[in-house]
Symmetry: C2
Subunit: 715 residues, 2 copies
Amino acid sequence: MKMPLTWTVGLSASKDVSPERMVSASVPGNAGLDWALAAGLPDWNFGTNFLEYRFMEDCFWLYEARIPLVELGEDERLYFVACGIDYEYVVLLDGVKLGRHEGMFSRREFLLDEAGGKLLQIWISPPPKDPLAEKDSRAEAAQSVKPAVSYGWDWHPRLIPSGIWEEAYLEKRPADYIKDIQLSYTLNDDFSEACLDLKADIAGSGVLSLTLNGPDGKAVLTMAADETATLKNPRLWWCAGYGEPALYRWEAILSLAGQEKDRKSGQIGFRHLRLSMNEGVWEEAASFPLGRSPVPITVVLNGIPIFAKGSNWVNPEIFTGTINRATYEPLLELAAKANFNLLRCWGGAIVNKDDFFDLCDELGLLVWQEFPLSCNNYRGTPAYLLVLEQEARAIIERLKNRTSLAIWCGGNELFNSWSRMTDQSAALRLLNKLCYELDPGRPFLATSPLCGMAHGNYLFRYQDGREVYEVMPAARHTAYTEFGVPSISNLSCCLMAANEADIFPLKENAVTIAHHAFGAWENDDGTWACLSALNDYFGAADSLTELIELSQWLQGEGYKCIFEEARRQKPYCSMALNWCFNEAWPTLAGNAIVNYPASPKASFADVRDACRPALISARIPKFVWHGGEYFSVGLWLLNDGQEEIAPGSAAVTLRLDGQAYAIMKWDYVAAKPNTNIEGPEVGLALPCLSAGKPREMVLEFEAGVMSSTYRLLYK
Amino acid sequence: MKMPLTWTVGLSASKDVSPERMVSASVPGNAGLDWALAAGLPDWNFGTNFLEYRFMEDCFWLYEARIPLVELGEDERLYFVACGIDYEYVVLLDGVKLGRHEGMFSRREFLLDEAGGKLLQIWISPPPKDPLAEKDSRAEAAQSVKPAVSYGWDWHPRLIPSGIWEEAYLEKRPADYIKDIQLSYTLNDDFSEACLDLKADIAGSGVLSLTLNGPDGKAVLTMAADETATLKNPRLWWCAGYGEPALYRWEAILSLAGQEKDRKSGQIGFRHLRLSMNEGVWEEAASFPLGRSPVPITVVLNGIPIFAKGSNWVNPEIFTGTINRATYEPLLELAAKANFNLLRCWGGAIVNKDDFFDLCDELGLLVWQEFPLSCNNYRGTPAYLLVLEQEARAIIERLKNRTSLAIWCGGNELFNSWSRMTDQSAALRLLNKLCYELDPGRPFLATSPLCGMAHGNYLFRYQDGREVYEVMPAARHTAYTEFGVPSISNLSCCLMAANEADIFPLKENAVTIAHHAFGAWENDDGTWACLSALNDYFGAADSLTELIELSQWLQGEGYKCIFEEARRQKPYCSMALNWCFNEAWPTLAGNAIVNYPASPKASFADVRDACRPALISARIPKFVWHGGEYFSVGLWLLNDGQEEIAPGSAAVTLRLDGQAYAIMKWDYVAAKPNTNIEGPEVGLALPCLSAGKPREMVLEFEAGVMSSTYRLLYK
């Protein structure tokens, strides 16, 4: 039986000095938010208000709760259970230390018998900062298992949360109860049988019986602890686009002398997943002297090679304690609606709460899960390795039987020059070892990118002037695990961040820099607003609405170009994940396709269309066209589907200035399952129209559900 | 007290049928050799005699020894100790099974009290063969921890040894004795202090005291078990060319009530070794989309980056049981004489015996040690992983405190298309995990080559017609961990392999194919003799002696080209290891620079000269020159030394047909420690000489100890 506590929280400059004021605290939640509410701090999402929260990163926080008088039966015990406290803390009972912990991902339990009426206190130290790191840089995260993004990123302000960010409660437990259930399985080679293995950790005594219910709710088998059982012809779990994400539910009951003592339940899907070498990779090694072949990165699910389409998932809130199922649900439903089948949970962020994985299981979204290491050199000091091992064990044990969990990964961009970790780094050898020990069947990648894979770019028009249309067809990678095209945010999002007067006409100021419209990167084009590209293409916009529309036009076309080009490069390429899906606060501009909190940009629909199982697609050489020029594109039928597509035809039309120019009717042949068809190069000489503003020129493929449009520019 | 046993051995087609005949057996040794001696089989090194040994790979072998009556004092025990039996065996005492073991690298002990007069039997099963592999292919080694080379290679016949290949003896032990000593240390950042840690595994009781004696033999400290001690200003161990390989010796004495019960001794060197990123690698990543950076492969010893020069070490005998210090000593002394500082112990071979590491410690030769996996896909079946873990643990525990041991490596060419293992392969994840757990401070490479590194080629003139002079300057790799240039073997070696009549004129026949002169590779040039290149360059040779001389001329110049070019590419490149150093039997042709058993080829001197700490070197564009052509080479001063080289001058002369043509005097500036100097491109118009046989044309640099010569061809 779980019992909530009533918490207060206060802050202090030192653990030795009690807070001057205690305020009401939400648990799970964040100390800083509770404080802000009580102290009347303005909304951190707006303007530069977040700067008023910055002082919190140097605070100690004290949580207090009075333990109620709980009547305990014979053999009953009372525990305080903390599922996750962020980040380093001491637990005290009436001033007596019960324990100390560093790390936000571990669950801790404290026995509290006879504690009724006593004061439970949790002192949380200020967020960790690597003393060797540059002050106020993300490198300060490099000796802790704390998400680096909170230390500031090009899409996230520096604002480091502290607090009881996961559930924390009193729990009255009988002598006999279920501490833990691990239900795992192996599938045989043709997936016609699942051999289930049930491990139960039981306190006290009792007989455990587990019933497995099929996706239709009917019981399919029962088994006891430490038993194996065979399930014939399990309904397989498939990721979105490849079949149903069939889930079974199990319920385990602990009985003693015919009496039920405890029960636990959960869900499980049956699927086999491995990484296989991308087609053509083994053969591509050229002449001596000869290096190694790139890594395997094709997800093979239940024997079927998947083209992984998806996005990089980041924290949906700055104050991660507030995240719950209601936060995840609209976002993940959008991810499924985008025809995605895989999310890369980026290593700069938190490892998500259970609700996230429940939803991914249910929606058929595969999860690439990184450990909390990103863009830093996490040095293998003994103190760091100790905490990393403890926290990684907690993460792996919590998630290892998750159906949607596809890949473990050490973290983000660790082998690039800005991080300077290598295969020799103790932290990554440790993570590989722990994953191998605790979850040997699941692939482990040291980082992303690895040999053959690539990250970037993050612009429609590159710094060297080339457009995404030119760069992507020339690239040849096995997986594009990050790429971005920025846009200005939706109007509603912009107005959460700033007053319209501060953002239109759009220019550099404290607010537009804080919300990432300018200065996110050091380059000439003013990321992420990229005003100079917008001005070059379209001229100055007359209104914020127009500016947003033009910017999202570029974003949508850019993303279509990359997703579809990656698909054209199949099977050598097998993965395309844009940077990024969502965001943690209202940005003014950025690469996300969904604005905070869950508002899709216009480009969301473009990405969704580019990720349809089958579509007619164009390889387009450039964005801007002129009268008299010969307009020419390559036709493709992209098919990731598992069904053959019957022969058919697609009408190719160009629409310009109210006119429709019929280019051709492409009669395509049948497309085998999971196979693209390259069609002809088609085009026409563009008419010379009267001068004027740049006009939209729409390339249209009419082919039923496979129809597509591309919006280009005529000048 | 160790007591040898008197062994006999016999063979049988089945474990259930006793051998018809038992013959005297050498231990350590090989069953097949004992049998061959008794049965009068001809020398396996000669002709195709080895074929008469092939049947042995399907034999069961039975070793027998009668346990003598050993008087045991009170508390004394009698053990049978087997340090390594190749490969799968059962131990029986008077027909009662004492144990079963798979794997040749583990030490096993069996308690034999009261066994006096009883018969000890060891049944060895036929060598393992993966049932999924092509018959008689090296792939048959892919589910065992048995060196793959024995299954046949392009320089090694198929001949798979079995037997008691390491020491095996009776041992009378008192109640109190030292089972194991592990003396390890960490050096502080400036190497001025070694913190020693002594772990002792003691049977019974007693007080252990360890004395450490310095390189000069004087005691520097004493310590007890489970103690740490600090050694101030240790004399550091250096690899050859960088300083003295200073070794300390320790002696541990176990005493009880003032009486010595047991003692053990060993050697230890103090050094710090890590792999660092090669210079320029972090910076070389070009534009987006961006992959990962190559792996670090610069050996940094005691803070000094080393240019690793060396060779690939292979089994020095087919019958590995006969290998002992006398086998290793002349070979390793040659390796040191060749100015080598690192040997790559290739994964197709055995993990060498302790004598090998003793000698490498003493000679300053770093060891890159691979596990016994090579050129196969070692599938992660549960049975294989179990044996691999057990054997790898034995290997790591035996070698982890070895001074010379520089790098662990999973095996040879496992990430190439002919092996098809990847970072996901369970066997390699397991090895990485075990090395991290048992020996965390030592670098681990999954295989060679990795990102940035390269293997090959193995010819002077490539299959596409390009010479090594053209290919190598165009290559850009961080480490050349295998490259070969073949030659015909020394006359003495050839005559161990065949009668002269069978090998001159040299042509394909059963003997020349068996001894690798032809058919080693499928290409046009008849590897390894490469007669067509020899004929193209020199015309037909008049004698075997001349053929050998011409062939070794090409080999020597080819190896000089590669070693010196790799050094010119420093610091981006930091390692050059030729394939291979030695060989396991008399070949007629091959890449080795030392013929079986320890006879240097002419090219050995060329390699030795190319690996001097400092030399004047030429970048030469091609081998054959014609009258009237402009002869031109690039001058370099190559300096791996730790001292600055004072300014000086090198006279550049070309000698042709008895004439000396002075090209120039190069006045080079001072060369900083460990830094090369690129000099001018120099040359002259070649005189037109009368027609005739191709003539030797010698390029000579006169510069004292840095003098060099290059022998080219004028036609």
